[in-house]
């Protein structure tokens, strides 16, 4: 009888544990969804003085119910430094006027698209979304973004960034900041191997071979089969002269063959297909990888985590032309929400002073070319990214971009894992893309 009791108790425990595990994924979102919480924590770590505005927000939140209109922002940055910087701008804005009370909510990147889709059909959207630029066109087609044509001066912004939020000649967003990919290399390892930074694919292959040892692979690039992977693949595709929609061409096949050769020669690990850009960076600072393709947003973390590591950044080696991919986020205003308040905040946040503050804290490059060019010192590690931006092109903009992107990342994954020849992978991807883009 006693054993039965123990068993039922254990079973009950197990069931409750199971229930909690079930809630885990959504519960986690809520825990981290609170910027104020994260900001508080960070503030305590960095400087006690910074804590005040965060707690002030909590109190003014209640006051907001009385007079000021509440304006909400959704964003997906998980880095605490990013959250704190954005929060700072929001605090300053709230303190500067009394009409609107802005609050920001963190939605994890993996859930961001889902939340926007669900929000759109359930009519529960924020007033401002800060979203990944290649997805912009899809949501414009969904009809949830306000037309901002003529409301913001984006004349001095990078053309690619403006294009990413422009559909049919109308402006549906404001670029937040831009970034692109470039090649990082471990200076000490290159010196030891007696090599210079590679500039062409042939040199890259040679250098990577020379750098590969038992414990070090020459090159790593994030190759996961989703948008993040596509982001890392397209510079190689575009460098051959192919565009996103002509992967089936001879040039497209050459790009796939080159990546496959990197893997076959053992200078790039197959495990890249399970490495996010953050994982790639971790492998690089751990000294397991000698060169990597990555973005400027890794720099603050790298400087903090591995201050003694000697690394430099250079342009991604080229096949027939230098090429990189434009990334970054755009602000978008949701129509049907509190458009006036959203516009008022955006006007404030896109002023030169605030842009400089945000870019500096984020490790981003301003989407405003005029600001970007004087943003960094000549020897700053960010400077190569500003140069690389001249060769960076946006993905899309196309409402069906997610499907095109899926075809491209599938093709690269097929050649990396060796499940298809470059010719077959290219042909299959081309057939998919032709079915989407007529």
């Amino acid at each position: 009888m006693k054993s039965k009791k123990v068993i039922s108790l254990l079973a009950a425990l197990a069931i409750t544990a199971g229930l909690m595990a079930g809630c885990g994924s959504s519960g986690q979102t809520e825990n981290t969804a609170n910027t104020e919480g994260a900001a508080d924590q960070e503030a305590q770590e960095e400087s006690p003085a910074a804590e005040e505005p965060a707690s002030e927000e909590a109190t003014t939140d209640e006051a907001a119910a009385g007079g000021a209109e509440a304006v909400t922002i959704w964003y997906y940055w998980e880095t605490e430094g990013h959250q704190v910087a954005l929060d700072q701008v929001i605090q300053d804005y709230n303190a500067s006027q009394g009409n609107y009370q802005v609050t920001a909510k963190y939605v994890p990147f993996a859930d961001f698209k889902k939340q926007l889709s669900i929000g759109a059909s359930a009519d529960e959207l924020p007033d401002i979304a800060i979203l990944d630029s290649p997805d912009h066109a899809s949501y414009v087609e969904m009809g949830i973004f306000e037309d901002l044509t003529g409301k913001f001066d984006v004349g001095s912004y990078y053309e690619g960034a403006v294009n990413s939020c422009t559909v049919d000649g109308k402006l549906y967003g404001v670029p937040f900041g831009v970034n692109c990919l470039a090649l990082y290399y471990n200076e000490d390892m290159l010196k030891e191997a007696g090599r210079e930074a590679p500039t062409t694919w042939d040199e890259l292959m040679d250098t990577a071979k020379a750098l590969t040892t038992d414990s070090v692979t020459g090159l790593a690039l994030c190759s996961v089969q989703n948008e993040e992977g596509t982001f890392n693949f397209v510079p190689w595709l575009w460098s051959t002269g192919a565009d996103s929609y002509s992967i089936g061409s001879e040039n497209g096949i050459r790009a796939l063959t080159f990546i496959q050769n990197l893997v076959n020669e053992g200078v790039m690990s197959k495990e890249c297909i399970n490495w996010t850009q953050g994982d790639v960076m971790n492998q690089f600072i751990a000294g397991n990888v000698a060169m990597m393709e990555n973005g400027p947003w890794q720099i603050p973390t790298m400087q903090k985590e591995a201050p003694d590591l000697n690394w430099k950044v250079t342009l991604i080696p080229k096949d027939s032309q230098y090429s990189s991919v434009l990334g970054g986020e755009n602000y978008a205003v949701i129509n049907g929400g509190k458009v006036e308040g959203a516009l008022d905040f955006l006007t404030y946040a896109t002023s030169e002073e605030k842009v400089k503050f945000l870019m500096d804290k984020f490790g981003y490059i301003s989407a405003d070319k005029a600001i970007a060019e004087s943003q960094f010192e000549a020897d700053s590690p960010y400077q190569p990214f500003v140069e690389e931006l001249n060769y960076a092109m946006p993905r899309g903009p196309l409402a069906e971009w997610p499907s095109v992107s899926d075809a491209i990342s599938l093709a690269f994954n097929q050649v990396i894992t060796g499940t298809a020849t470059p010719e077959d992978a290219a042909a299959e991807a081309q057939a998919t893309i032709d079915g989407i883009v007529k």
Partner: protein, 299 residues
């Protein structure tokens, strides 16, 4: 007065008691299912989710799906994964239950400890197995190498065939305690007198197992297998964390593919069609479960 009295007659009062549960089911289970079925008969994508006409194309989404090789792979994967997981976790769980049913010191605490895998959140287990099966830094390759069973690291999670194997290993590990505990409970319900009289009659261990233990455990075994099937068939988090359906779509399950279509590619209708295929299969299994359990009650 008479009318009110009539309303509270025994039979009608029963209906009233059922009503809250019925309304709850209708709103929180019935509505989403019906909404999802309607969605799968339409052509909803990014363009007409919020505004615009949602055309009814009826079974076109389903027809398209059955020509889609990724869908066929994920359907086959889900079945293969479920059956293999069930077989291994049931056999091992059964063996452990029999083992811990014997009276020896520490039997109870050890059985308690064995429940731990089932209590750990699945995402944590998934991350743990992802690290165990990593190619260059993974513990499994390290062990195999130190025993000279392999010369070259096995690329567990980056080769289609072995990735599925890794997923099954992880899920079997999670599922064993569930099987063990339910079968253990079942074993305690078998009267000891039966075993005693069997031994007096001179039955050996094998005979008692097949003539007493198995037949009397039948209702428990049916429940374990059917609940296990449902739990395993709708797997999502484990796959999403360990492989995200990769490499090259080779480990997509119905659930992960449905998510990908709906929320990564904005093909809402096609995604809901995949979810409905999942629903229909589970519905069939669920009917079997209800039949099996009600039969048990009657007996």
């Amino acid at each position: 007065m008479g009318k009110v009295k009539k309303m509270f007659r025994y039979d009608n009062a029963g209906v009233l008691f059922v009503l809250p549960a019925f309304i709850y089911m209708l709103v929180f289970v019935g509505y989403p299912i019906i909404r999802n079925i309607i969605l799968s008969f339409q052509d909803v994508s990014a363009g007409n989710l919020v505004r615009g006409v949602k055309n009814f194309i009826f079974f076109d989404n389903y027809l398209e799906l059955f020509q889609d090789s990724v869908f066929r792979t994920s359907l086959f994967n889900t079945l293969r994964y479920t059956v293999l997981c069930l077989v291994f976790q049931f056999v091992i769980g059964f063996a452990l239950a029999l083992f811990f049913n014997r009276r020896f010191s520490f039997a109870k605490p050890v059985r308690g400890i064995l429940l731990v895998p089932w209590m750990i959140p699945v995402t944590v287990t998934a991350l743990m197995f992802k690290l165990l099966f990593a190619t260059d830094i993974g513990v499994i390759n390290y062990i195999l190498r130190s025993f000279h069973l392999i010369n070259k690291n096995i690329e567990w999670l980056t080769t289609p065939q072995t990735a599925m194997f890794a997923l099954i290993c992880a899920n079997v590990w999670i599922g064993i305690p569930f099987n063990m505990i339910l079968i253990s409970t079942g074993l305690t319900t078998i009267p000891k007198e039966l075993y005693e009289s069997a031994s007096i009659d001179g039955a050996n261990k094998t005979q008692t197992f097949f003539s007493i233990t198995l037949p009397l455990l039948k209702p428990t075994i049916e429940s374990v297998l059917i609940l296990g099937f449902i739990y395993t068939f709708k797997v999502y988090d484990l796959v999403y964390v360990m492989t995200s359906g990769g490499p090259v779509n080779s480990t997509h399950m119905l659930s992960t593919y449905s998510y990908k279509l709906s929320f990564e590619m904005f093909k809402y209708s096609k995604g809901s069609a995949v979810a409905n295929v999942l629903l229909v299969i589970l519905l069939v299994v669920g009917v079997f479960y209800i039949k099996a359990t009600t039969k048990g009650e009657e007996a």
